[in-house]
């Protein structure tokens, strides 16, 4: 054990220490850790918001939380979980894992990568600082017009929402540009597109969705900002403005966003399953193509969120059919995962358990998704808890299960230490039992007439029992999450030393040391197949862990990303002063940052 420890820690990367080194870092691994830590923090915040909602709804006619705070809680729960947890934790994995999987030393634009993180962090803070003003966003995470107008939502609540999201969107677009360029251009020799690990493929597709969907949302948010601050009329019905335009723009972003959230999780389990079944992924090429199809068709289904607005039979039929068609490539993925497990020698460690939970629970969410796609059934289900059940099955059952699978699988690479298996199994069972106890009864509550986004319900609905079960399930999930947090803390301090490839996995990141050297690979390895660490591991390890005689040229740390991020956030935040020229100060700050940045030499 002692020798294993010295071997593992011998090659620990030679970073400078201290907080300044984190502030100025441009290392993709450190930025990945920052993204992950921030997202896990907001997972706890968003979870706490959910628990408060469930306390209020546990019994009928409760008055624990008034309608005003309730509106803020469900709005911030949704906004937080989508923008401050789901997206950034996927980006945390992109950052840490993708360059290692493709045999690169960093991302294509390391300083831009740091800028993305700081903008994300400041945007998240801007959004949440609203709680201190007692004015958290309260119009739903989808912010439907005209509820968000100055007339119906005076006060700062929606201002914080629209400006915070605008800041966050900038970070996502930059991240998308960075990862597309990285994956296409920085692959190691021999790492052809059809040899990329599935996770990297899904990161690429997600990045394409980010750069195409987020600008549409940015435009919608600009319209709303100008409506609220400068009296434009985009969503003002009395002047001829059409609130349905907001819904079109929002869901043109919002549906690709669904795939932005789920494709990374699909990618994670497609890499984890082969390691734990000792079999290559079944139907690699088909998995790639079905991912491409999901991303592509995902752009043509947005109006299924809008059946209730009365689009007319032709539009309804088109969007219903397009939505049902997406079930085909998704089903292909489900069957390929099953076929990967079929006949494999399975090792039921925590990562595999979470993968199996994803396959089962996402399928349930997928099936209720097809129910919504049928326009007539949709009219019955819309705005009820049936919809809440559906998207929690795909997001908790899909995204969150995938994320936990990925965390148990890759954290040993990040920290060099294993997570505890016994605590992991407690975490897994509490999460799966809690999630199903929470979200499955919501189907019944919804069909029995329980509406979304209403702060209480009458005892005459006879839904008190179901709601109590739902709330108990929520608290079971919360206990599971706390066990995970403890497990993580414990693993960093006392975890068993992981070694370089604890799972005997197949992809290139496992050739590096745990944690990897700052430059990742001593020599860039030359890849000849999809499973290099199964086919010729010694050669890959020798290349990756080769100690270069001369220092490797790496991007220099830079202060300008955080400086520029402050400028961009200020530009948006200063709108809150309602003095027209103050945002220009933020723009000036940004300009100083960008120009100083462009004259800074990129390499040391």
């Amino acid at each position: 054990m002692a020798t294993a420890e010295t071997t593992a820690l011998r090659t620990a990367p030679a970073y400078g220490g201290g907080i300044w080194s984190w502030i100025t870092t441009v290392d993709h691994k450190r930025i990945g850790i920052l993204y992950g830590a921030t997202a896990l923090f907001f997972l706890l915040v968003g979870g706490l918001e959910a628990l408060l909602i469930r306390l209020q709804l546990a019994v009928p006619d409760a008055d624990l939380i008034g309608p005003e705070l309730y509106n803020q809680l469900f709005t911030m729960h949704g906004t937080t979980m989508v923008f401050l947890v789901g997206m950034p934790i996927a980006v945390a994995f992109f950052n840490y894992i993708v360059p290692l999987q493709i045999g690169a030393r960093d991302v294509a634009f390391p300083r831009l990568n740091a800028l993305s993180y700081w903008i994300f962090l400041f945007g998240a803070l801007l959004m949440n600082v609203s709680f201190l003003f007692g004015a958290a966003p309260n119009a739903g995470w989808f912010g439907y017009a005209p509820l968000t107008s100055d007339q119906y939502s005076p006060g700062l609540n929606v201002d914080f929402w629209v400006l915070g999201l605008q800041v966050l969107g900038v970070a996502s677009i930059m991240g998308g540009v960075n990862f597309i360029t990285t994956i296409i251009n920085l692959r190691a020799p021999g790492m052809r597109m059809m040899r990329l690990p599935l996770f990297t493929w899904m990161a690429l597709l997600t990045s394409f969705l980010l750069i195409t969907a987020l600008p549409v949302f940015a435009v919608a948010l600009f319209f709303l900002t100008f409506d609220r601050f400068w009296g434009t009329l985009f969503f003002v019905p009395s002047a001829g403005g059409d609130p349905i335009l907001w819904q079109h723009l929002f869901w043109l972003f919002g549906h690709p966003e669904v795939y932005i959230l789920i494709l990374p999780a699909f990618g994670i389990i497609s890499d984890v399953l082969p390691a734990f079944t000792r079999k290559p992924l079944f139907g690699y090429a088909i998995m790639v193509y079905s991912g491409i199809l999901i991303a592509f068709i995902g752009w043509g289904v947005w109006a299924h969120h809008m059946f209730a607005t009365g689009l007319g039979p032709i539009a309804d039929s088109f969007f219903a059919a397009a939505t049902m068609i997406i079930a085909i490539p998704t089903g292909v993925k489900i069957f390929n995962w099953l076929a990967t497990m079929w006949g494999g020698s399975m090792r039921f460690d925590t990562p595999l358990l979470f993968c199996i939970a994803l396959v089962g629970m996402f399928t349930i969410g997928g099936i209720s998704g097809v129910h919504h796609a049928a326009a007539p059934a949709n009219l019955q289900q819309t705005d009820t808890y049936y919809v809440v059940a559906h998207f929690h099955y795909v997001l908790v059952g899909g995204l969150i299960m995938g994320i936990f699978a990925g965390l148990y699988y890759w954290l040993p690479k990040v920290t060099g230490r294993m997570l505890d298996e016994r605590l992991g199994k407690w975490h897994f069972w509490l999460t799966v039992i809690g999630a199903n106890l929470t979200f499955f009864p919501m189907h019944f509550a919804g069909l029995l007439g329980m509406p979304r986004r209403i702060f209480t319900y009458s005892s005459e609905l006879n839904l008190g029992g179901i709601n109590m079960v739902i709330s108990i399930g929520g608290f079971i999930m919360a206990i599971g999450t706390l066990i995970f947090v403890y497990n993580l803390w414990r693993s960093i301090r006392h975890g068993a030393v992981a070694g370089d490839n604890p799972w005997n996995a197949h992809t290139l990141e496992w050739a590096t040391t745990s944690p990897p050297a700052e430059y990742n690979f001593g020599r860039i390895p030359e890849v000849r197949s999809r499973e290099p660490m199964w086919d010729y591991p010694d050669e890959m390890i020798a290349q990756a862990q080769y100690v270069p005689e001369r220092p490797v040229h790496m991007p220099s740390p830079s202060f300008w990303p955080i400086f520029t991020a402050i400028g961009i956030t200020l530009t948006c935040a200063l709108f809150l002063t309602e003095i027209w020229w103050t945002p220009l100060l933020g723009l000036l700050w940004t300009a100083v940052g960008v120009i100083s940045w462009s004259f800074e030499p990129p390499e040391r």
Binding site: A108, F109, I173, G176, V177, N178, I180, T181, I184, N185, L186, R187, A188, M191, I211, T212, A213, L214, P215, V216, A218, V219, A220, F222, F223, F226, W230, G231, T232, L233, F234, A239, G240, G241, D242, L245, L249, L252, I595, S598
Partner: protein
Amino acid sequence: MDHAATHETATGLPTWKLGFWTFIGSETLFFGSLISTYMVYKGASRVGPYPHEILDIPLTTISTFVLLMSSFAMVLALAGVQQGNRKQALIWLATTAGLGATFLGFQAYEFTAFYRHGLTLSTNLFGSSFFILTGFHGAHVIVGTIWLTVLWVMALRGRLAPSDALKVEVAGLYWHFVDVVWIAIFTLIYLLQ
């Protein structure tokens, strides 16, 4: 071309160029949404002034010509930098930036004239969607003009060698893109009323 920067990448394309094309793809969706909104709200204004009353096609044709010629100047500026011809680079970078600034002058004049006719952001849907769309395009021209001016200063100080041509090429990609967007705006808003 800068071989030191290109021979290592998997596609052979410079990373900067690939990244910038990706960004332009994103910008296409941005302007696509703005232009679509303008088209959706065409004829939806409840009160005047209406587009046909105040859009000045002859004047905007001139400013469009100015912007198109700036793309031509951009090509010559890039050629100057690539061939190490400092004089050509300086002249044509200045011309490109100057034509950009001229276009902005036309736009400032147009906005002022519309304001005098009683059209503001909050007059009607035409005012809202017109000013936001052309305003965002103008903001892109401002960024491009500043970018070109910085390149011009670099050229003046002799810091723009042929090995730096990629910097000018990427600025050129941006400039041509902003130009193409204007052609779409000019056609859809001014010519097809």
